[in-house]
Structure formats: C-alpha cells, structure tokens
C-alpha cells in the first residue's frame, strides 16, 4: 500500500467497540497468555501461573461484564444494548447475563480442573502416551500434569462467550468451532480409564464435526435465502417473504440441528452420555454447565432474532423435539448404573425443560430459561464435583452400586449430593424448583400447557433415578470394599460449597437473580 492511495480515499476504519467486547477479549487474551506460559514458563511455576491466569481472567471478565451492564451507556436507562463489530456481535442484556453466567460457571469449573490433590486430579500427564505404556507410568510417577488444559479451557470459554453473542451466522459458526475444538481435545485427557476418554473424544469430535457441517449447510441455505448471514437481515427477508421458502425452512432446520446437537436435544443427544462418561469429570462439569448455557444462548438468539416472525412455523417441530427430549432423557435415566451417565441423561431431560422456555417465545421464556440455566449450572457443577471425590483404587467410583451406604460413610458428601439431586428433581426450596417454575410458567403463558404437562410427567419419571441414588446412599448398607470419599483441596471444596449455597439460596430467595434475568430479558435481543 502506498501513501497516495491512503490519501486518495480515506477508508474509515471499521468502528470496533473494544469496550463492549472486553469480557470476551480478556478471556481470549488470558488464553493466549496461557499458551505463552506453557511455552516459556518453567515447569514448576506453570501450574500456579495457569491457575492464576485462568481464574484471574475469568474473574476479570466477569467483573467487566457486570461493569458493562451496570455502567455502559448502551444499557443505561433501560436501553437494550447494541450491535457492534460491524454487525457481527450483539452485546445486549441477555447476552451479558448469559456471558456472566458462563463466566461464573467456568470459574467454578476451573476450580475443579485446578484440583491440586494428587489423588483427585483428573488429567493425564501425557495425552500422547499410549494407555498402559511404560511412558505413561513414568509420567505418572514423575507427577507430571497436563497444564495445557488451562489455555484450552480459556479458549473454549472464549468461544462460549462469543457463541450466544454472535449476531451473524458466520461469527456464530466460528465461535462454535472455537468452543468445540478445545473441548474435543480435553475430553481425551482423562487420567484414568483413558481408553474411555479417548473414545469419548473421538465420538464427540466426529459427531461434533458432523453437526457443524449441518450447521454450516444451514447457514449456506439461509445465506442463499437472505443474501446475508446477519440475523437481522434474515429476519427482514423472512418478513418480506419474497425468496424461496424452501431455502429458508431447510436453513432453519439444518441450523437447528447444529444448535440442538450442542444442547443435547433428542434425536441429537446420542453423544451426551458417552462423552459425559468418558471425559475427565471437571471437563464434563464444564460441558454440562457452560456449554449448555452458551448453546441455549445461541439457540435463543437465532430463534428469537432471525426466526422470531416464524414462531408458528418452527414451533410444532420444536414441540416434538422438546417432548421427545424430556421423555427420552428421563425414561432412559431410570436404568442407568453409572453416575455420570445418569447425570448426562438428566441433563438431556433438563435441556428439554429449557426448550419449553424457548417454545414459549416470550420474554418470560427467555428470562426463565436464563434463570434455569444459571441454577442448573451450579447444581450440576456441584454434583460433578462430588463425583470426583468418590473414589476407589481404579479412580472415580462411578458405578452406582459402589455408592451404596455412602450416607453412613460420609454423611456430608452424600447429603450434598442428595441436595443436588433434589434440586434436579425440582423439589421446592431448591434452585431446581425455582427454575422449573420459571420456565413452565413462561411456557404456559406462551400457550404450551400440554408441553408443561409432559414436562411434569417427565420430572416425575426422572425423580425415580434420583430417588434411587438417595435410597442407595442413605438406606442401604455400605459395601465392604466400597469406595472412599477423599478429602479434596480447597479448590473442589469451594466449588462444592458454591454449588450447594447457590442451590439453596436460589431456592429460598430467587428474586434477586430472577429480577436480574427478567431485567435482562425485557427487550429480548437486539437486532
């Protein structure tokens, strides 16, 4: 380029509102810094630096998000926010709420990842080592650990923050990949049962890639329909209804596949149990909380902003999906014997409940779902945190039969796990009830009463596996060679305590968070 060209026609640098994107950017920056740490910091310092960087980055991003929401002029006086970065990113109230939720949940998940107790840590020392090889044993003996997890997590979280904020489908696709690729890798990093872990990584990767192909093809169709990948443009085109409807509806469906895959709705749920089971438990917690929040955020944005005028067209199909999701998730959960698979199926059913909030297609649906996601996220991180603590010589004792009599061995841990299960079951005075109440209320307001009836039936079915676990823990005699509950370091302890505290507080005084969610959702998303 030459100066003459520059002087001839001034190209206005695209306005880029760094401030509004600061939470996302901070997380990415922390991630890149993490890569540098991995490359240059001495091994002894690496772990501490990573933890400080990750927790600091997430906490900083959270503070930024809160600060943005509280002070930024785009939100002042009840304004909804704005579209930034040349129309690619929408920073609005729901987005900030979702981002803040993701950041908090990611923070708690990182606490699990950072668990320092040698007994409890979940990650393989060397992912490249063949399971069972001498190389692997050496790594174990040397006390190595895979500190790459931290930057990978930060990249994934960055993707998750961007995913629901993306205002055009290309950004959304990229965010999807940014959040997915690190997760694929991290799934394969389990310290114990590495074959399972690798299998989980492969399944997640292949199916994830498969689903993103659908997503992308859907984007192509919508681009063909609207001539743009901006959500608002698609909405405008759909309103005018001039172009080929086939492209539009095929696009909606294909895009839907990609998004529903991420939330684990039936029939796109198959990856969830296997991946949840095989992945290292802290990563499972991250996926079950943050990814779910992020994916629902994106789902809401796409369906409310781009297809908001077409509610009556996509609703019937989503009704079927929601009903299937609620029923299949809860019914299959009944016969699960592995605690992580059980939580996976439970997560499928919970996704179904949140889908009813989506189908409600109103502000209450959005705010209720956001509340639900936050409440569920904390409970689920807490539950997975406890899963990491119940161990036998082979690692985590995930088979439920070995949980028998846990209530006698360790009443506190069993009691907390029971609390999380009761919250999942939606018993009043726990966050699960408040959340369920919020989404079902929205669904009924939105005219989806039958869906809610199916929802409560599914809840009743789903209560059975939870209750069975409680029965096992409290009413059964402990197995003689049963697992022990290891004493965790402060990291996991804090995570469990946070999960439990939020579960109880949101059950008894949900109003502050509800107000916040409601405040965030009043104007839906910006276009």
């Amino acid at each position: 380029m030459t100066g003459s060209l520059a002087s001839a026609s001034t190209i206005a640098a695209p306005a880029f509102e760094w401030g509004l994107l600061s939470p996302v950017l901070l997380v990415f920056a922390a991630a890149i810094a993490g890569v540098l740490v991995e490359a240059f910091a001495p091994r002894t310092l690496r772990r501490s630096l990573h933890i400080a960087l990750s927790l600091g980055g997430l906490a900083g991003a959270f503070i930024l998000a809160v600060w943005l929401g509280a002070t930024n002029s785009h939100f002042a006086g009840g304004r909804p926010g704005t579209v930034i970065a040349v129309g690619t990113v929408g920073v609005d109230r729901p987005t900030l709420f979702i981002q803040a939720t993701i950041l908090v949940l990611a923070f708690v998940s990182v606490l699990l990842i950072a668990e320092s107790s040698h007994e409890v840590t979940s990650f393989t020392p060397q992912a490249a080592a063949v399971p069972g090889s001498a190389e692997e044993r050496e790594g174990l003996l040397a006390g190595l650990s895979h500190t790459e997890v931290y930057p990978l997590t930060l990249f994934a979280v960055g993707g998750m923050l961007l995913f629901p904020a993306a205002n055009d489908l290309l950004t959304m696709f990229i965010a999807l990949e940014v959040l997915s690729l690190p997760l694929y890798l991290m799934c394969g990093l389990a310290r114990r049962r590495r074959l399972l872990s690798q299998e989980a990584a492969m399944k997640y990767f292949l199916l994830g890639a498969f689903s993103s192909a659908f997503f992308l093809f859907g984007v192509a169709m919508l681009y063909g329909y609207a001539g743009s990948v901006q959500l608002a443009a698609i909405a405008t085109a759909a309103q005018s209804g001039t172009a080929s409807a086939t492209l539009l509806y095929a696009g909606i469906a294909l895009l839907g596949i990609g998004l529903l895959f991420k939330v684990g709705a039936v029939p796109f749920q198959a990856w969830k149990p296997d991946v949840y089971q095989g992945a290292p438990t802290p990563i499972t917690a991250l996926m079950a909380s943050c990814t779910l929040v992020s994916a629902f955020g994106a789902l809401f944005r796409v369906f409310y902003v781009a297809f908001g005028q077409l509610t009556w067209d996509w609703r019937p199909a989503l009704w079927v999906v929601a009903i299937l999701t609620m029923l299949v998730g809860s019914v299959i959960a009944i016969t699960q014997r592995d605690v992580k698979r059980l939580l996976a199926y439970s997560s499928i059913a919970q996704a179904g409940y949140i889908l009813t909030g989506l189908i409600a297609a109103n502000t209450a649906g959005l705010s209720g779902s956001m509340f639900y996601l936050a409440a569920y996220g904390f409970a689920t991180v807490g539950a997975f945190a406890i899963v990491t603590l119940v161990r036998d010589p082979a690692g985590e004792a995930n088979h439920l039969s070995s949980w028998a009599g846990l209530g006698k061995r360790s009443p506190l841990v069993a009691g907390l796990f029971a609390l999380f299960l009761i919250a999942f079951a939606g018993i009043p005075l726990t966050s699960g009830f408040s959340g369920k109440f919020a989404v079902f209320r929205a669904a009924i307001e939105g005219g989806a009463l039958p869906l809610v009836v199916v929802g409560v039936l599914s809840s009743a079915i789903l209560a059975f596996p939870y209750v069975r676990v409680i029965v096992l823990m409290f009413f059964s005699e402990p197995a003689p060679e049963g697992p022990v509950v290891v004493k965790p370091s402060a990291y996991t302890g804090v995570a469990v305590a946070l999960g439990a505290a939020v579960t109880v507080v949101l059950g008894i005084i949900p109003q502050p968070l509800l107000s916040l969610a409601n405040h965030a959702a009043t104007q839906l998303f910006v276009r």
Partner: protein
C-alpha cells in the same frame, strides 16, 4: 446455461454423499474426510449464492470455513492418532466401550 440452482443441487448432492459416507465408512479418517466433504459442499453453496446475490460475503465465508476445517483437521487427527496408537485400529466401530 448453468443456473445457480444447478450449483445448489450439486452442493446438496455432495453434502448427501458426505453424510452417507459418514454413516457407511468405518475408518475414522475416511469418516472425517466425509465430514470435510460436507463442509466443502457448503462452501460450494456459499460461493454459488454469492454469485447469485452479487455479493462477496459468500466467497469470504468460504475462506473462513476452509480455515476452520483446517483447524478441525489438526484437532481431529491428534485425537485419531492417539486412539490409533492405543488400539492399533482406526475403525470407529471398535471404539464402543461406552454404550446404553
């Protein structure tokens, strides 16, 4: 005369071939290649639509997709390699320890 519809049809055909390939092939690498084929079918559609709408967006997107696909390949091959080293098999059907 080749209309955009022809391109779209081709891209759909390619997409379906890719999807079917994912279902019928056992080798993990080939399965992954089929996914890449699906992505490229989408690319074709993007470019065709870009022509149709007389815009550059679609072509631009195709480049993005290529980059993403490349990144995916990196991650994917890493995973597949580690599995292959552990199992001495690249068949996706061999990895079914977790079920039900």
């Amino acid at each position: 005369m080749v209309s955009p519809a022809h391109f779209i049809a081709l891209s759909v055909i390619l997409f379906v071939i890719g999807a079917v390939g994912v279902l019928v092939r056992r080798n993990a690498i080939v399965v992954f290649m089929c996914v890449e084929l699906m992505l490229n079918a989408a690319n074709l559609a993007f470019v065709a639509f870009a022509r149709m709408h007389n815009g550059l967006d679609g072509q631009l997107i195709a480049f993005f997709v290529m980059v993403v696909a490349a990144a995916e390949v990196v991650v994917g091959l890493a995973i597949l390699t580690s599995i292959f080293r552990a199992r001495r098999s690249a068949s996706v059907d061999d990895a079914n320890l977790m079920k039900y």
